[in-house]
Symmetry: none
Subunit: 251 residues, 2 copies
């Protein structure tokens, strides 16, 4: 695990209760490359074997490196900009972000060399107003208002996911990233395939009645050229028509 | 909980193992307004008291309404378009989406009245290739390659989150421009087409040698489900194989 703290937000868990949740939060962080955890006054002290048991493997290193502080103010000693995650409905005069807009903004701040923190409250009660007062902005996850309860690790996961999304060089082309090794067929290969099928279908008297033959051929040509066929697909389709008509030729 | 099944994706859990994870998945679904769960051959049978204990409250209703099927094929009886969630690195010739691009596309499909499914595999092993062959596209979450492990409920959570994000009014309508008059084939139509071709190709001894028959069938299934076929295309393709093999049958 490399030291990337200057390039990523710090995750601060305020008065976390269950060790398991701290471990699960460490896992969720690492899933998206976040490695710097700070703990404010954890209920059961620190280190916590239940946290370690839940984290396991590389996520254990996030816990090993976690720093513990008695107060949120101290945990924020080097933080330039902080986002407080809360359930919806707080009456506070701060900007309210979704995870997406918060992490987009955070990306810009981090790129400028600013220290960003994501602050999460205790499992049941959430952050107190005194905690939120220390943050520059609020983040709430857009959830079903009839069932809004997210646990601590889930909240961390969604923020990490949005951080990771923003860290991607660019959103991949929306439609269809091709798996590597899949070579799209060339126009010439498609044309030969179309010729092969047209020949076999002609022999099989597919283009019937005669007055419909021309539009049918055109429809088929359009079909081949419209489909996103790979070179491998083209080979299969050659093999299919060859095999299907093999018996016919042998008559 | 209102009946909104036509307006949202179905979540299909294939061979889930732990009841707790089924319950946690139900919670994650409901967090983002998804209420229709289907279970394929759950390891510990159904209903499962551990699932109920984990779900609690309104999420229990998601479990109450969950439908159980012996096979994935049966669970997909009314599904038009399916996304299979996998860890990265599968060598399959299907479009690979992020949760974001998948749910943007799904939004467009659902708006057109199409049935969309999100398919999740068993906890450890994930989906098998036979399962994935039934899907139209793959979704992988962009995670830290050094620590990619997401649990079942987390994978459901991220897909639900992206679905919920798209459901927000501010999000622009996803680009799903279809040429007018072009009706996409349903999944069932594609499956019948695949069956028809498989039957004829089997008669023509296309799947040879025997030890290669299974992977060849799988490749072909993947080919059909990956291509953006219209209803008209499907009719043509039925006609083609019928005509190509007509002489053979008449021998």
């Amino acid at each position: 695990m490399t030291e990337t703290s200057a390039l990523q937000p710090v995750v601060i868990l305020v008065r976390p209760q269950m060790g398991e949740n701290i471990g699960a939060a460490a896992r969720a962080m690492l899933n998206f490359g976040l490695t710097e955890m700070r703990l404010v006054d954890p209920r059961d002290g620190w280190p916590n074997p239940r946290a370690v048991a839940m984290a396991s493997g590389a996520a254990g290193q996030v816990l090993d490196r976690a720093r513990v502080f008695p107060t949120l103010a101290e945990a924020m000693f080097d933080v330039d900009h902080a986002y407080a995650t809360t359930a919806r409905g707080r009456e506070l005069t701060k900007p309210v972000h979704t995870p997406a807009t918060a992490m987009a903004e955070a990306r810009g701040l981090v790129a400028e060399g600013r220290r960003v923190a994501l602050i999460f409250g205790p499992e049941r009660a959430g952050l107190e107003n005194d905690d939120i007062a220390r943050a520059n902005a609020i983040v709430t996850v857009p959830v079903n208002p009839d069932f809004p309860s997210l646990n601590l690790a889930q909240a961390v996961l969604l923020m990490g996911y949005e951080w990771g999304r923003e860290a991607l060089p660019a959103q991949p082309a929306p439609a269809a990233k091709r798996p590597p090794g899949e070579v799209p067929a060339t126009r010439l290969e498609i044309e030969k395939l179309a010729d092969h099928w047209e020949e076999k279908l002609t022999e099989a008297r597919f283009f019937f009645p005669p007055e419909k033959a021309a539009p049918m051929r055109l429809t088929l040509r359009n079909l081949w050229s419209r489909l996103p066929l790979t070179r491998a697909d083209v080979q299969i389709l050659h093999g299919m028509v060859r095999q299907l008509t093999w018996k016919t030729r042998a008559d």
